[in-house]
Symmetry: C2
Subunit: 492 residues, 2 copies
């Protein structure tokens, strides 16, 4: 066997261990009885350790080096990806990784308690230590300009603090102004979307639309989980989850969102299945696809011209709605306190607050203890509202307690990219509206599949964006799309 | 770290890999979309190989040897179990193991086809090769008296062909006579048990009774699978499956059967969780517990004095039944062709046919090509009926195609042991009937838990049986129990 062939076998072993861990995690979040938690934690920890040991072994690194002469085409791309992944997995010393996971376990407990008791002070010193660890990590990972770059690059290859700043600078003014104009028009009544909606009927409808847009149920399924997510372990087995709440759109748009992630995974090139080239290229690009199917497709008027009758057949209490009035209601814009419940338009402003704060803390321009004050001031400035307490303010997200610092901007990159990719799609296929209102999603999915999903991790995310859209990530399509949509809805 | 401590860590690694495989298998049989099959097969094969490599490594064998001086008490028992397991896993050369799995894959395909087309001849030569491989395996495993002993010992430690022969000799005459006497009384009408039974209601009822007898749903669950089974991967996570058919008792007694397996696993000693001492001691003892809860408890009149009103509340079409008439109907005895559909009384006779045939083939007293003739003659002799074709005859079971030769007697051992253990239970607690009719199962489960389940694999099965019942496995309690029950039901 050549070095490359041996390398592929070792990577298949790593893949099997990682996939087993993913299946165990899926099971834990969907079906596992509570008594299973202790053993599950140990099993996952052992399998993860084994995968890490093999992946970061001297043997694998040597095989990568020896393969470099031999590899061409896709194999060359695979080696590039593996080299990056090994580097991310080895640059941070094991001792620091262990220190971080110990702290994360404690921090998570403390964060849960602090949020429940609205006590930021009790959590501040642990959070400070977590930021210290993040700084240490960044030094090991290395960076050119900002310390923030090292952390963001883990989630979004090649992205920098300067990129994120430029992105937010471009969107901040127009988005804040648009939100303000909408608020001035007075509130939209969406009370009809709240009720006791039959779960079997919600399940039927969400599966119907998810299937209609192109998620393949022969190669996947949808279950229920308290915190919906998408996962998967092969081209033929991608799993969505959703949840059913008194606010009917939760399940509908949650399902479309996860299906967007799922179709990206299902659309990979089968020949790369279970290799490092398979799957989403970055968090930002992945999020762009969940947001595409949730917002650009699912929250369009055309979508509801097609599907509202089906929804009304299941829920006759919605029969007063027209596609137009339903469209307006589900796109209600309202500055609110909680990021995960935010509408499409205000969402980016929530992310902006977090980006600015974590950047300032990381670069020692803001002390952790002063975080609540900074948070509240930014909510006032960007969203016009002030959190009544830290539980609904800077304690709301789990990310920092886990040490996921530098992660937030990928959400906004996803938002921008969704419109940017869609612009490229429409410049080739023409307006998507006529496809959507006929329920003819195959041409749209086909385009995304050809241009993005099938590419897997072969190209760096920045290269992929340029290839597909002819330009680097930017705010123009996103802002134009939002302005067009919301000026129409709100008659501005 | 001592050798023993290091050994325990390596065994924990093996446990994590084996548990992951079990979870992947559970998922495959319950929820996996069909597209997942290809990757699942590869993942399971990789994880199994890794577990085998670690378990049979020189390192582990050396650690076992080095630990022997150090170990006392439970650790000593653990080393005995591990030594046996390693020996079973290493005595057969890897090449033969690989040859067997290749053949098994082909044989399974051929068997499915042969059964569908009623073409034994087309399958005979592959089956002959499988028996050749079994003979080879037996030579590697080693035996004293019969070549059959080596194979049976894999499933039931210490059991021999002589044991199995003695068992079947003891039960054959009385069981054949009892079945004949029942057949002479004329058929029982159980047509009221067939219908279109609501699946949610069947689910509700089976979960209710399974919970009532003591299966802990905080540490387990019940799902649906085409071929019901029980599996698990820790003291806190044991999974049952059942299926819903037009014959209502299928789900009820299938669920009780799997719950018997499940309560055995849930009843293990928590301190041994995820070590080689945890779990069932042998197939026969495991089956004794599934048969106990299915037959001795679930098919008793007392059980239905307690639960029939609940069943009737869900299914009013059963309201004409009294506990007595329901008891008689669910215990209908009828010689039939298919083992897995057989009633409690005739079941052993199906197993007997298989045991005699596989023993004769293995010892070259019967050629594979003559199997159908021998099969049909034995069905005529023991059950009074003749299969109309081989699909309903010697092609019905999957076992031989998989190479599971020497496995069948464990089913009958389970039947005998269920009554033998129950005899010991009643000699301590008094008649179980009064507990069952009150729905007070805790004392019964508690006794089994203390005397059998908590013992795990600490003692060899033969030693456990003697400890618990004061005698080796025998037919006396079994025959006495069946005669008492069926003479009452059939007024003999």
């Amino acid at each position: 066997m050549t070095a490359l062939e041996t390398l592929k076998q070792r990577l298949a072993d790593v893949n099997a261990l990682n996939c087993a861990t993913a299946i165990l995690d899926w099971d834990q979040q969907t079906y596992m009885p509570k008594g299973g938690a202790e053993a599950r934690a140990e099993h996952v920890s052992i399998l993860s350790r084994m995968a890490h040991e093999i992946f970061t072994s001297e043997e694998v690194s040597k095989l990568v080096e020896s393969s470099k002469g031999e590899a061409t085409g896709d194999d060359e791309a695979m080696l590039r990806v593996v080299t990056r992944d090994i580097s991310l997995a080895t640059k941070i010393p094991t001792a620091l990784v262990a220190k971080k996971s110990r702290l994360a376990a404690i921090a998570h407990e403390e964060w849960v308690k602090a949020r429940a008791e609205n006590n930021f002070t009790g959590f501040a010193s642990t959070l400070e230590t977590m930021f210290d660890i993040a700084r240490e990590e960044a030094e090991y990972l290395g960076y050119k300009d900002s310390i923030y770059d090292a952390l963001l690059d883990q989630y979004e290859e090649g992205a920098t603090a300067a990129d994120a700043k430029a992105m937010f600078e471009a969107v901040k003014g127009p988005q804040v102004a648009l939100v303000k104009a909408i608020v001035d028009k007075g509130p939209v009544d969406d009370s009809k979307l709240y009720g006791e909606w039959s779960i079997p009927k919600q399940k039927e409808f969400t599966e119907k639309i998810v299937k209609a847009i192109g998620f393949d149920f022969d190669r996947g399924r949808q279950d229920t989980a308290p915190h919906p997510f998408c996962t998967g372990w092969s081209h033929g087995d991608i799993r969505l989850t959703t949840r059913y709440l008194p606010y009917l759109p939760s399940a509908i748009f949650g399902s479309l969102h996860e299906a967007g992630h799922g179709m990206y995974e299902q659309g990979g090139t089968k020949a790369w299945d279970r290799t490092p080239l398979y799957g989403g290229v970055s968090l930002g690009v992945h999020e762009s696809q969940s947001r595409t199917w949730e917002n650009i497709v699912g929250r369009s008027e055309a979508f509801w011209r097609h599907f509202l009758p089906d929804l009304q057949a299941l829920f006759p209490e919605l029969s007063d709605f027209t596609p137009r009035s339903f469209y307006k209601t589900i796109n209600k814009v309202e500055p609110s306190l909680i990021r995960v419940e935010a509408d499409e338009l205000t969402y980016n402003l929530h992310v902006l607050v977090r980006f600015e704060i974590e950047l300032d803390v990381l670069t020692n321009k803001l002390a952790v203890k002063d975080m609540p004050e900074a948070w509240n001031a930014k909510y006032k400035e960007y969203l016009g509202i002030t959190p009544p307490n830290d539980s609904k303010g800077c304690l709301q997200d789990v990310h920092w307690s886990m040490g996921s610092i530098g992660y937030f901007p990928t959400y906004s990159m996803g938002n921008l990219l969704s419109y940017q990719f869609w612009g490229a799609l429409e410049s080739e296929l023409g307006s998507a509206e006529s496809y959507i209102e006929k329920g003819d999603f195959a041409p749209l999915l086909g385009w995304l599949q050809r241009n993005i999903y099938s590419k897997g991790r072969k190209f760096a995310p920045k290269d992929l964006v340029k290839q597909v859209t002819g330009k680097p990530i930017g705010a123009a399509d996103y802002l134009a799309g939002l302005e067009k949509k919301y000026k129409d809805i709100y008659d501005l």
